[in-house]
Amino acid sequence: MISLRKIEKKLGTFRLFVDRLDIEQGEYLVLLGPSGAGKTVLLLTVAGLVRPDAGQILFDGADVTSLQPQKRDIGLVFQEANLFPHLNVIQNISFGKRYRRERAKEIERRIEQLVDMLGIRELLRRDAMGLSGGEKQRVAVARALALGPSILLMDEPLGLLDNNTRQELRKELRRIHDELGTTTLHVTHDRNEAFTIADRVAILSDGTLAQVASRDEIVARPASEFVARFVGIENILDAFVERDAAGKTILNIGECRLPAVCERRGEVRISISPESISLHRELPVEIGPENFIPGTVRTVEDSGAVFRVSVKCSFGDVVVTCGKQDFLRLGVSCSSPVWLKPDAASVHILPTSQNPEG
């Protein structure tokens, strides 16, 4: 297990501060954040290539904060692969063997396994500079894993690849992780990459961790408006919390009133995923209008499996997804008046502490 405790690093006006981050044994953790958030600095700190100003890094409980990188038992993969240009592929992969002479046999077996796993057997005698981007990155991964490191650190490993190669290698990285069980820290700014590959995602914003959680957790309950926006939740809306005459807490979204569990009162920001809102043409007679938001259809976008419908409401635009058949059956088109019914359980009230403005 890799544990970071109160890691602090100042670089000019930028300040990285990670109060607490634990990467479980065998976990695939993706560090996600916009550029300039300090992802790479944090990765290099774990690698020992950047020394933190304060704080502790523990590998399985042992303090390695001041340990040199060569003694940390890590594997490192950068965006540009950074193969040694003066060596061929197999020399690159087995570069570290000479520093682990006592385990030479085991490392050789492991290299054989990795070469098959990554499908790079034909490349072994090739010159490292003559490979394609995807091949280079495979070799770089094999090289990083050859010594059987206790943690694999990857800085945007798929960032420079073309789209098809990226998809392919993304799957392979996950498969290799599942087979070898190497604890992995993967840095990226691509949220799709993060969400498809990771066990847990750590979102870094301006030097601090905004949220560390699984994909579903982040999408359902983003820790802040920044997280919600960054992971691409479209509906971030203004709402109002009040207590009604009966003493129940009520959340007002425009004209709609929903029961809610919330300690706060007054103006709040909420997030709700487009799938959790249903679209109606007529107001159903059996349910009162207080459960609905009135609006007019602004745009309809065909996104493959579903239609994405943007609805203009009194407080702003709301995006709703709707199955194709259902949508056609409704018979609405642009500028039709419609009624939206949000699922009360899926409404998430965004905490304000992380983001004072929001």
């Binding site: 290099l44 060569q70 950074n82 240009p85 570290g96 520093y99």
Partner: protein, 405 residues
């Protein structure tokens, strides 16, 4: 290409016409008298000229086709009519001319060769080497679809540089190999040359030993005053060499402040010291640039794989910077071997070849100094060959061993 009968008839007619004109010229003046053999050879050459022209006519533009007989006529006039002593040369030259006319590069070089022998008479070979190199380079650039600006810049620059190089080429070509060998045999010269080679090599080795780690550290670290350190490394290039010699002498000379401690003037050590001072910057600067070109992430990866900082330096950075370091070594070695001013002041003896050239030219005169200078130039030409080799792609393979499997 098939010849039709009409073509044969036209060609035969032209040959007879050409030959007839020449024979007419012979009859008009006794100067043009030719024997039977020459007459036959001329007939054959004329035929070959027309036949080649016929074969290549479709490959050439109009202008090029127009110049084909003009060039032949010029050859004929200069070698056959103007100077009858060169008549024997005319036939092979004419055959070569007709054969290579359709290859612009070869034709250009050929023209330069002939023109150099006609106009640059005292030193035709030197002229040919210099002008021919300029032409060949400009031609190769021209073929690569660069604009006229690139070709003109290169041609003009090289031509100007060629003028600087011309004396050296002349100078080396002027002396017979025998003179050079005799000069080698003189014990004074051989000894000076040996001193030069030994001292320059020791100097380079010592600079290599401390300069490469220094260059690496400068390339990889940043600290307050780094710019000052880098400027200080440049300093020896800026200071006049005679001043360097005097300064050294003042410090380590017999009456100098360290004079009693070290006995430096007049020893090989003194020579090496003076050479090191003036030549070290070349190796260090080149090495800094080569280390800066190595991605530090390669070292990071090496560290992650278990290499210590020194291990990453030796197994990753040095092999990747080897080419630049080698170029730096050659520059330093060349600078060391050519140093006169500071060496002559600090350690006149043991005399290096450069100092010998200097002393002979001031005391015994230019004629005495010349053979030694030529020997020195020839020795340094090997360095030129080495430098060229390093810049070639073959060297990269040799040093980095990409093909080693």
């Amino acid at each position: 290409m098939r010849l039709r009968r009409a073509d044969f008839l036209a060609m035969a007619g032209l040959i007879l016409l050409l030959h007839g004109l020449l024979l007419l010229g012979q009859l008009r003046s006794l100067r043009f008298r030719v024997d039977h053999f020459t007459n036959l050879a001329l007939l054959f050459t004329n035929f070959y000229f027309l036949y080649s022209g016929y074969l290549i006519r479709s490959l050439l533009g109009k202008l090029a086709l127009l110049f084909y007989p003009v060039g032949y006529g010029a050859l004929l006039y200069v070698f056959f009519v103007y100077n009858p002593d060169w008549r024997a040369l005319f036939f092979p030259l004419a055959i070569i001319y007709c054969s290579i006319y359709r290859l612009p590069a070869a034709a250009g070089l050929f023209s330069i060769f002939v023109l150099a022998h006609i106009f640059a008479q005292p030193h035709p070979w030197a002229a040919f080497i210099v002008v021919g190199t300029v032409f060949a380079t400009a031609y190769m650039v021209h073929r690569r679809a660069y604009g006229w600006f690139h070709v003109a810049s290169l041609g003009f620059g090289l031509a100007a540089f060629g003028l600087l190089l011309f004396p050296i080429v002349c100078f080396v070509l002027l002396d017979s190999p025998q003179t050079v060998l005799e000069t080698f045999a003189q014990s004074e010269v051989a000894l000076a040359l040996k001193t030069s080679l030994v001292s320059a090599t020791i100097c380079t080795a010592v600079v290599l030993l401390f300069g490469v780690p220094l260059a690496y550290a400068i390339a990889r670290t940043s600290f307050r005053g780094k710019a000052l350190v880098e400027t200080a490394i440049d300093l020896p290039i800026l200071i006049p060499q005679s001043a360097v010699g005097v300064a050294f002498l003042w410090v380590v000379g017999e009456k100098g402040i360290l004079g009693g401690v070290l006995d430096i003037p007049g020893t090989l050590f003194g020579v090496v010291l003076a050479q090191m001072f003036v030549s070290a910057p070349f190796l260090i600067k080149t090495a800094i640039a080569s280390f800066e070109a190595v991605d530090p992430r390669l070292e990071s990866v090496a560290r992650s794989l278990g290499a210590s900082p020194a291990g990453a330096f030796l197994r990753v950075s040095v092999p990747l910077a080897a080419r630049g370091i080698f170029v730096g070594c050659i520059l330093t070695w060349s600078r060391a071997i050519s140093e006169v001013g500071s060496v002559a002041i600090l350690a006149y003896y043991p005399m290096t070849a450069s100092v010998l050239v200097f002393s002979r030219s001031t005391q015994a005169g230019i004629e005495q100094a010349r053979p030694v200078a030529i020997v020195l130039i020839l020795t340094c030409l090997w360095v030129f060959v080495g430098l060229h080799f390093v810049r070639s792609a073959a060297f990269r393979k040799f040093v980095t061993g990409f093909d080693r499997t």
